[in-house]
Amino acid sequence: MPDPHAPTAPPARHPGAWALILAVPAACALALAYVGGWLSPQRLTPGRIVDQFQQNAGVHPGYRRNHAKGVCVAGYFQSSGEAAPYSVAQVFAPGQRTPVVGRFAIPGSNPYAQDGSVPIRSMALRFALADGQQWRTGMNSMPVFPVATPQAFFAQLQAGQPDPATGKPNPAKLAAFFAAHPETAAFRAWAKTAKPSASFATDGYWSLDAFVFTAPDGAKHAVRWRMAPQSMDDGAAAPANDPDYLAADLRERLAHGPLHWKLLVTLAKPGDPTNDATKAWPSDRTTVDAGMLVVESEQPQDSGPCRDINYDPTVLPNGIGISDDPLLPARSAAYADSYLRRTSEEAHLPGTARVDTKPQAEARP
């Protein structure tokens, strides 16, 4: 057989052989299609989550599919060294200063939404560590998340889809969603009293999801963190006549000097839920003052350095890892899908929506 000039064996005529030749590659392709979700359209995928955001608020080419309206900021994080015993991440080394590119935003997919339309604000940060690693985080100005799983989050999005007749979410559907999801109670209690703040600077921002620190001795610590504002809320009401007051306020404050937040890291005790962002940890847990976030400047989001950053909360340096919180991989996957859509639109790739060049005033609903 090794001699290529020797006559080959007579060709087999068995139809089973031909069937096998077709069946093996076909089975391979089919298995791949199954893994890719093409055979099960009901499976929740990152694409379906992002599609639902688009269903709810339309497509705004070039913008993030959620937290679409925001502003870039830049500054640094000055480590106190107090978190260093719990995490080997270079960002926590004593005296370490790490440059930060961040973004303040409001939730929702409409980049022209009114700042007063929601009580939630968000802070996203990318720490560029000196060793080339990165820490990305996206935080919200509430202590608990409404839901614990991607499936419940998707159901909430679906319930919030505007009714074509009224242009508003159907209250009955929302009520049904909340009735079916009692885990939303803590968030709803918070939302009942929450008012849209007049400034990004006076809000605190919570990681919501749990993460795992790795200490120098290899010990693991489940943590959550929050950014505690050092600017005091003077109780001033948000201006009613300016839909974009948050960016204006930020510009005004930064003109007078940098803004500060303390990074407070809370250490879980055994038994504290790390896989359920709807549940706050008891308030007596040890909290470490890891250092100070200093925000020095702001830039518009359509040209600033935050524009092309995907604030995927699972991009983490050595010393910080993801926990078993099911929202984290879902956020990572959905953010990646959103990032690909908006960068494809920026690239004017065929089949993508055209980037909207309409001035904001015209496009505002």
């Binding site: 057989m1 090794p2 001699d3 290529p4 000039h5 006559p7 080959t8 064996a9 060709p11 087999a12 068995h14 052989a17 096998l20 030749i21 077709l22 093996v24 590659p25 391979c28 392709a29 791949l32 893994v35 890719g36 979700g37 499976r43 929740l44 995928t45 990152p46 694409g47 989550i49 060793d131 080339g132 690693q133 990165q134 991607p150 790795t214 524009r307 092309d308 995907n310 699972t314 991009v315 050595n318 890892g321 993801i322 078993d324 099911p326 984290l328 991989p329 879902a330 990572s332 996957a333 959905a334 990646a336 899908d337 990032y339 690909l340 960068t343 494809s344 920026e346 690239a347 790739l349």
Partner: protein
């Protein structure tokens, strides 16, 4: 240099079967991770990057082995078109084995992501940060994966055709020990 046994050399056979498993796994991992919102997404992503770089390194070694030890010739009576298809698909597979990891690496670089192979092992960027380039490279990564899948399926079908229908020793040359006389 010449090939008296008619078999692929042992290093070539080891590399072939090892990389076959790795590449097939990689196709499933890649397709699965972008379609998943569960914890699978996180752990598949953790495997995807180091496995891709391992495939890149092995592909370079394999190319060197192939140039050093040319493979046994195809059967003389194989129709010209099939010979052409065999050669073209083999070189396409080599090109994709090397291009896929490089495009993935460049894509993460262009997206401004740190290219982490483990908790602390980071590769340097090989492309400047540029969102437009990211989008192009990210789509290229997916389309090249589709091309790799189709080429792989054709390769699989052709190998079975040689082994079951033609029984011309081509498959046996790569399988090794089970040669028929």
């Amino acid at each position: 240099m010449n090939n008296p046994t008619g078999l692929f050399t042992l290093p070539a056979r080891i590399l072939h079967w090892l990389m076959a498993a790795m590449i097939l796994a990689m196709l499933f991992i890649g397709v699965g991770m972008v379609a998943s919102v569960s914890e699978r997404h996180a752990w598949l992503l953790r495997i995807h990057k180091p496995l891709g770089i391992a495939i890149l390194l092995l592909a370079v070694v394999r190319l060197a082995v192939r140039l050093r030890h040319p493979p046994p010739p195809l059967p003389a009576d194989l129709p010209m078109l099939q010979k052409l298809a065999a050669h073209a698909s083999h070189w396409l597979l080599y090109a994709l084995m090397i291009a896929m990891p490089l495009v993935g690496w460049a894509m993460l670089s262009a997206g401004g992501y740190p290219v982490m192979l483990s908790d602390s092992l980071r590769l340097p960027p090989i492309f400047p940060t540029n969102a437009v380039a990211f989008a192009v490279l990210r789509h290229a990564h997916a389309w090249l994966a589709m091309l790799l899948l189709l080429t792989f399926l054709a390769h699989l079908g052709a190998a079975l055709y040689h082994g079951l229908i033609r029984r011309d020793g081509v498959l046996a040359n790569m399988v090794g020990g089970s040669r028929k006389s």
